[in-house]
């Protein structure tokens, strides 16, 4: 008999009323028998496979999915891939294709490091090859921890395309002076997805961006928790989330910008634009600003619901009817994010797929 464990994940940094059911999310994961998923990693030989930032240091970082999930990951993860760029002369890229095959539970860990003045891009694609019994689905956890050195840059691209997946994607990161951590996430498929990113902007003038595009397919559930802790002077965060929800889909986005005392001159912005394509959807948006520093600028904005009458009228005058207008605006949200991917081959592949939907 399988031994399952219940976890509270994606905790809101400051809780609110329980009746809204947004303070965290409940998941049930297999406590034993979790295996590593097959990975194919395309990278140059110059990319090192060890990191200077120690495992203890990585584990001390706050993660987006929270302590319970992190502890779970440490326990069940059998395989950790470490990627580090220590050559300031080369911008490195690694593409990790993760493939899931049957109804089992998986867990993979990743440690990513760009040392001072270095640049590293990591692209992770979640795919499936479920010939046996696709209806049974699978659970796939990843724990990704990122260190960004001084004047360094890490770009993390994650593309979720596995139709039968229940994905748990836990990210923790730490940024030094003038470092930059950019995240691009595209959620194009999947039954359930729990996605948490926590970033500590420790260095002065450090930067963090998250650009996410998602589609909530019928009966799917998406749960996000983004937390940006501003510690350094003049550090900045920019979170942009664009999504589309189909019928019976549920989505919760928690996005927190935290200005810690001493983060003078820091700026943080978070924005979400959600297009609801059907009734019977559940869209929850929870954009927090926490502040104990006077000299900061924080803002958030959210637009949720139907297309505005002005846009519909404009498109209608160009011969585009309402249904086509919604389709264009829905794909447009995903294409905007897909076009941010620098890898031309992957970018074009994704654009083709989105256009074909």
């Amino acid at each position: 008999m399988e031994n399952f464990k219940e976890l509270k994940v994606n905790p809101l940094p400051v809780p609110t009323w329980h009746w809204l059911k947004v303070n965290d999310a409940d998941i049930k994961v297999l406590d034993e028998g979790v295996i590593s998923a097959n990975e194919s990693i395309i990278r140059s030989d110059k990319l090192r496979t060890g990191t200077s930032f120690t495992e203890d240091e990585f584990r001390s970082l706050e993660s987006g999915m929270g302590t319970e999930f992190s502890e779970y990951g440490y326990k069940v993860s059998a395989n950790t891939v470490s990627l580090s760029n220590d050559d300031p002369q080369r911008s490195e890229e690694a593409v990790i294709n993760i493939s899931y095959e049957d109804g089992r539970s998986y867990f993979n860990s990743y440690r990513i490091e760009a040392k001072d003045n270095c640049d590293l891009t990591v692209i992770m694609r979640y795919n499936e090859d479920c010939d046996n019994d696709p209806s049974s689905g699978f659970k796939a956890g990843t724990d990704t921890r990122v260190y960004v050195g001084k004047n360094a840059k890490v770009t993390l691209v994650q593309i979720e395309e596995a139709e039968n997946a229940e994905i748990y994607n836990n990210i923790a990161s730490y940024i030094e002076d003038n470092g930059s951590f950019d995240v691009i996430q595209l959620v194009l498929s999947g039954r359930k997805m729990y996605n948490g990113i926590a970033t500590k902007l420790m260095g002065k003038r450090s930067k963090h961006t998250i650009n996410t595009g998602y589609v909530g397919l019928p009966d799917s559930k998406l749960d996000f928790n983004y937390v940006a802790r501003h510690n350094g002077v003049e550090c900045t965060t920019d979170i942009n989330v664009n999504g589309v929800l189909h019928k019976r889909s549920e989505k919760c986005l928690r996005a927190t910008v935290d200005f810690v005392t001493g983060s003078k001159g820091a700026k943080g912005a978070e924005k979400e634009d959600v297009l609801l394509l059907d009734d019977n959807v559940v869209n929850k948006t929870v954009p927090l600003i926490l502040c104990t520093e006077e000299d900061v600028e924080g803002e958030h904005g959210a637009t949720i619901g139907k297309l505005s009458d002005e846009i519909l009228l404009y498109l209608n005058t160009r011969g585009i009817d309402k249904d086509l207008a919604y389709k264009l605006m829905a794909t447009g949200r995903l294409l905007t994010v897909a076009r941010m991917i620098e890898n031309e081959e992957i970018r074009n592949d994704l654009i083709s797929k989105i256009d074909a939907e």
Binding site: T261, D279, E294, G301, K306
Partner: protein, 470 residues
């Protein structure tokens, strides 16, 4: 080094005066909360049977429910040391001259009788646990408007209506302090505005908690019938003591079809007060609920007026300001539920934190399935005046209808150097420029406050914004 604006706290001198109360002037129950105390209060108030049952049921609920784990700490609040019922030994009167001298002098210092003469249609004044004065202009009374203390109404023509509505919008099960209220409530007002009647000038209830270590649990029930119109003002203050006081009032508002209700509150409790007040409004088809809320006082505050837009085409507007100064932890905000079709809500809040004060803006906008065409806009702005203070913004939007149109914006920041520079280039001193900007920040909210109706509120809202460089 950047310069800071020094903003004085709200001037409380006018509210901190107090008279030493003699035990012989008051009837009090023992400290704490027991079934015996609840029965004692009920007996003292000559409750109907159903009310005693409600009180005892509420006490059971209170004992079962947990303390909230999501808001400011309530560790300093010990119910075993709170006196839940303090009754001045005076009868309710409609003649100001019959109010006992000490109580009369208290309200005169707060400007209540003057405001009544000049700009109000009626006034109710509660001192500790009981209403001591209630009066309404004859011409308003002649329209069929009822404005009286709730206890009298419980035994009058509207007894059945009150039984039908009392604690139905905010039942004891809603949260722990609503259950507490249900058990020990006392005082408050009942307002009934008949169909089609428009009350041109406001009614005001003023709540004064004078006894140290006491709780005030007034209940306000307002019913505005179809096509009627009312502006109701609520004011509250207390002198400061070194021990905790508690306010756990309840406001239930029923806004009928195509009716309008504006409910304005200036809360300036003393800084030893735990203000755990609850307010809820139900709006029928085409009705409109307007909230104007200013929170300045209290040691700890939990205050989130809720509006349920039940009827099609119903509307809600919320305008609020919170000023959290030294030693204060004010958790304020709102809740709006869209249930009817084509409902609209518009929210505009401002928050200022200074001198170590903690201000939290907490909100929820829920658009239920079937609330087709719902529209909501929320705009929150926060000004941090130093880095000793803390300010959090915690909004939640839960949208379940495709045709909804929901927008939310929030900003947090400091006084802009560019704005200071601009004003200084026009010949305004830096000191004055900073003070002007802070004043302007609160202006779009404060202009909604009904200052013209009650001079007392001028005192409550007055922020001494003295710009100085430091």
């Amino acid at each position: 080094m950047k310069e800071k604006t020094y903003i004085e706290d709200v001037d409380r001198n006018l509210y901190d005066f107090r008279y030493e109360e003699k035990d012989s002037d008051f009837y009090k129950v023992d400290k704490g909360l027991t079934p015996e105390i609840v029965r004692q209060i009920s007996k003292e108030k000559n409750d109907p049977e159903w009310m005693l049952d409600l009180r005892l049921r509420s006490l059971e609920v209170y004992n079962k429910l947990p303390i909230p784990d999501w808001g400011p700490s309530l560790d300093g609040l010990d119910m075993d040391n709170i006196v839940t019922y303090v009754k001045p030994k005076t009868a309710l009167t409609a003649k100001w001259s019959e109010v006992p001298d000490e109580i009369k002098e208290t309200f005169e210092k707060l400007g209540i009788p003057q405001a009544e003469r000049e700009s109000l249609a009626g006034v109710g004044a509660q001192y500790d646990s009981e209403v001591v004065y209630h009066n309404m202009r004859e011409e308003v009374s002649n329209l069929g408007v009822v404005y009286t203390d709730l206890e009298s109404a419980l035994h009058g023509d509207y007894a059945d209506l009150i039984k039908e509505r009392f604690m139905k919008l905010l039942p004891p099960e809603d949260h722990k302090f609503m259950a507490l209220h249900g058990a020990v409530w006392s005082g408050g007002s009942f307002v009934y505005v008949p169909k089609g009647v428009k009350v041109e000038i406001p009614l005001q209830s003023y709540f004064r908690l004078n006894a140290p270590g006491a709780g005030q649990f007034e209940h306000t029930l307002i019913i505005v019938e179809e096509g009627a119109d009312l502006h109701f003002i609520e004011g509250c203050s207390a002198p400061k003591y070194n021990i905790a006081n508690l306010h756990a009032g309840c406001v239930e508002l029923y806004v009928g079809k195509n009716a309008r209700l504006r409910y304005s509150t200036i809360e300036n409790w003393s800084k030893n007060m735990y203000n755990l007040n609850s307010k809820r409004s139900l709006v029928e088809e085409g009705g409109k609920m307007e909230w104007v809320s200013g929170s300045f006082g209290s040691h700890t505050g939990y205050l989130y007026p809720m509006t349920i837009l039940k009827g099609d085409n119903s509307k809600c507007e919320f305008t609020g300001i919170t000023f959290a100064g030294k030693g204060q932890n004010l958790d304020t905000g709102l809740k709006i539920v869209h249930s009817g079709k084509n409902t609209t809500s518009a929210v505009n809040t401002k928050s200022i934190s200074k001198s170590g004060g903690i201000g939290t803006m907490r909100s929820s906008v829920v658009v239920n399935p079937g609330a087709e065409g719902a529209k909501s806009t929320v705009d929150c702005a926060t000004l941090m005046l130093d880095d000793l203070s803390k300010s959090d913004t915690i909004p939640v939007m839960d949208i379940r209808t495709q045709s909804a149109d929901v927008g939310h914006e929030a900003k947090i920041g400091r006084i802009s150097d560019d704005a200071i520079f601009y004003l200084m280039s026009r010949g305004i001193s830096e000191e004055d420029a900073r003070a002007m900007i802070v004043s302007g920040f609160a202006d779009n909210v404060s202009k909604e406050l009904p200052l013209e109706y009650a001079i007392e509120m001028n005192n409550l809202i007055r922020l001494e914004m003295v710009g100085s460089i430091g």
